[in-house]
């Protein structure tokens, strides 16, 4: 996983709440078995009308081209567990998503893929949304070391990647270092084996 420290980039404003994963990646694209190529289908049904770019949709406004930060409203990523949704956002070039809250599974999937879920207050999100809508091409810096976003106009605000302080620190560290969670867990092999030895027989025999 690519480590994340600090990114400065254009902010793409998506002023909607409860953006669900069926919008992020429509189900009909989930048949592919590859892990790459998902950026092309990001927000497909909002982005295209009959195969042509929909000029009404913010992603098709050239002034937001090359965006690295997405700002949206509460409960971003609700719905299915499809990690394809996170792959699509990340592979489109987005490194951080700012929102007042994230849906649980999408939130967890972010950490597995080096996409930073930036949780801020509704008021701060409104400020950033307003700036990005008001001056397309507006840039923001997301600094994960300092847990702070800032812009060239002097706006500064703190953020967390998880509301629970312990989990925030743990996840921040894995993002900063691009750690492979499986390798970390495999280091616990002795503890896992000890747990397995204690499991009741009828559970172990559950699946034949």
């Amino acid at each position: 996983m690519e480590p994340f420290a600090r990114v400065t980039g254009v902010v793409l404003p998506l002023d909607r709440s409860n953006v669900d994963t069926d919008q992020i990646v429509p189900a009909r694209y989930l048949k592919r078995i590859e892990r790459q190529g998902w950026g092309e289908v990001l927000f497909y049904d909002w982005r295209y009308t009959d195969g042509e770019p929909n000029p009404e949709f913010v992603m098709n406004d050239e002034r937001y081209g090359g965006a690295a930060v997405l700002v949206a409203n509460r409960n971003f990523g609700s719905g299915s567990s499809r990690e394809h949704a996170v792959w699509a956002v990340r592979q489109y070039g987005i490194r951080a998503v700012i929102a007042p809250s994230f849906a649980d599974i999408f939130h967890k999937n972010c950490f597995e893929n080096g996409l930073v879920p930036v949780i801020m207050t509704q008021e701060q999100v409104d400020t950033i949304m307003g700036k990005a809508q008001g001056s397309p091409g507006y840039e923001l810096t997301v600094d994960l070391k300092r847990c702070e976003v800032s812009d060239a106009e002097g706006f500064k605000a703190p953020f967390v990647v998880h509301e629970d302080p312990g989990t925030h620190e743990f996840r921040r560290n894995t993002l900063l270092n691009g750690l492979d969670e499986i390798a970390l867990t495999l280091q616990q092999d002795e503890k896992i084996a000890a747990f397995e030895a204690k499991r009741p027989r009828w559970l172990a025999a559950g699946v034949k």
């Binding site: 078995i33 609700s78 649980d104 495999l186 559950g206 034949k208």
Partner: protein, 468 residues
């Protein structure tokens, strides 16, 4: 000893490693796998040279992609490749697969319970958001993404922070014509689609205890639509009765040992919930969604809400956008909404009891001329049972299509999809834009309500229908 909630008990029994200020490492008893969210996980294992730690605790089936008409012909090449990849991966890593040729195939959340894999007290995971269904047995059943699927395959463990617990207590008894689905929709309407974020929901109260296992599964299934990570119901005699004798349930002495453990799986008196929501069952009605998320829901007796009636600007805008997408006017009575399609199926409402309830409504009647209606059983076992009871004839005589088992039109990954602009009464779980096919419009309701809508051609109040 400090009193514990049901969640605490299961959580504490599965901790492999816990450290202050860090997510815990939990052991997984059962890992369910399907074709859509697993291919990239198996590929990850291969690239890293890793094995599946406990293939015998892992069970797979093909459900999302499978055709429900001509099951043997998958015309969509990409779909076929995904299903073939599942077969190859299960062969390579030694995992039991109930593929399309198996009479145990079906929607992963239907076959787990039906085969007795799903048991009280377990930690169950699956790369699918509706994994919460299994919580109906008093299990801690959580959805995971593909990276976590790979993690569980490699380690049989899950990294997880302990959720807060919300008690949803439904007191009293459900009125006639009000189903478990209505309890679920009513709960979501009350707490909102993000009201459950960060929580595990424990459903309690007389109305919940009175539900059958099928009803409890419907209720827990939709916990995710309220934003919760999981939903659960403490196991009781209803649960044990359902599990007993199923192919993979414990037998003989093992059954007795299991029962001793399971009987303690309930929240202790005095244990504190982080939040409690109480609902009076008598106030629940048959519900129908009008918008593009499951929280945009009203009783069948009301009209489509006016966006101006919403307090927050965000909700107002969302309602306006939803009405535009759904092509509905504020104030229009729900019972005047005409439908083009009816879908009885999905992991929410395609178990045998659901089909019986729908068949009871349909018996001796005809689907409206303008409606195309289909029934997709949740599993091949459900299909066979329904056929044994003659339910298939009731449906086909009425003009319903009777299909093979799968996820089908719940999410439009197989050929069963809505055409742009088509309006569908559906027993599934999500009414998101395009969920059942690009441009399609979905209204969620109970099996009885969808069956009645198919006959009438528009939504009707099932309570009056039953009096007919």
């Amino acid at each position: 000893m400090k009193p514990k909630t049901l969640l605490d008990k299961i959580w504490d029994a599965h901790v492999v490693r816990e450290e202050e200020g860090k997510p815990s490492l939990l052991y997984v008893d059962l890992h369910l796998v399907h074709e859509v969210t697993s291919a990239q996980a198996f590929e990850g294992l291969r690239l890293a040279g890793r094995k599946v730690r406990r293939p015998e605790l892992t069970v797979a089936t093909a459900d999302h992609n499978v055709p429900t008409a001509e099951r043997w012909i998958i015309r969509d090449e990409i779909s076929r490749k995904q299903i073939e990849a599942l077969r190859a991966n299960c062969d390579e890593f030694g995992i039991q697969l109930y593929g399309m040729e198996s009479d145990r195939q079906g929607i992963v959340h239907v076959i787990g319970p039906e085969l007795g894999y799903t048991q009280p007290g377990m930690v169950i995971v699956c790369g699918d958001s509706h994994t919460s269904t299994h919580g109906a047995f008093g299990a801690m059943a959580m959805p995971i993404g593909t990276s976590q699927v790979e993690h569980v395959l490699a380690t049989q463990c899950l990294v997880q922070s302990r959720p807060r617990v919300m008690e949803v207590r439904v007191d009293g008894s459900l009125p006639t014509g009000v189903a478990a689905k209505d309890m679920a929709l009513g709960t979501i309407g009350r707490i909102g689609v993000d009201g459950g974020i960060g929580y595990a929901i424990e459903y309690a109260g007389e109305a919940v205890r009175s539900l059958s296992m099928e009803g409890r599964m419907t209720l827990c299934n939709m916990s995710i639509e309220a934003g919760a990570r999981l939903g659960m119901v403490a196991p009781d005699e209803t649960t044990f009765e359902y599990v007993k004798g199923r192919p993979f349930a414990p037998k003989g002495e093992d059954w007795e040992a299991a029962l001793a453990v399971w009987s303690d799986l309930k929240t202790d008196p005095g244990a504190a919930y982080d939040k409690t929501v109480t609902i009076d069952a008598a106030e629940l009605e048959p519900f129908v969604t009008w918008g593009t998320n499951p929280g945009q829901v009203v009783p069948v007796t009301s009209g489509v809400p006016d966006p101006d009636s919403f307090f927050s600007p965000a909700d107002r805008e969302a309602a306006e956008r939803a009405l535009e997408y759904m092509d509905l006017r504020p104030g229009a009575p729900i019972q005047q909404i005409s439908i083009d399609r009816a879908f009885i199926g999905s992991c929410t409402n395609a178990r045998i009891e659901d089909l019986r309830a729908a068949a009871e409504v349909v018996r001796g009647r005809r689907v409206a001329e303008s409606v195309r209606a289909m029934v997709v059983p949740g599993s091949t076992q459900v299909k066979l049972q329904a056929e044994k009871e003659g339910l298939d004839r009731i449906f086909t005589d009425a003009g319903f299509e009777w299909r093979e088992a799968g996820c089908s039109m719940c999410l439009g990954m197989n050929p069963d999809i809505l055409q742009p602009g088509e309006r569908c009464a559906s027993t599934s779980n999500r009414n998101f834009e395009g969920r059942q096919g690009k441009g399609g419009r979905t209204h969620l309701a109970s099996p009885q309500m969808v069956a009645a809508a198919a006959i009438a051609g528009h939504f009707v109040d099932i309570r009056e229908w039953e009096a007919r």
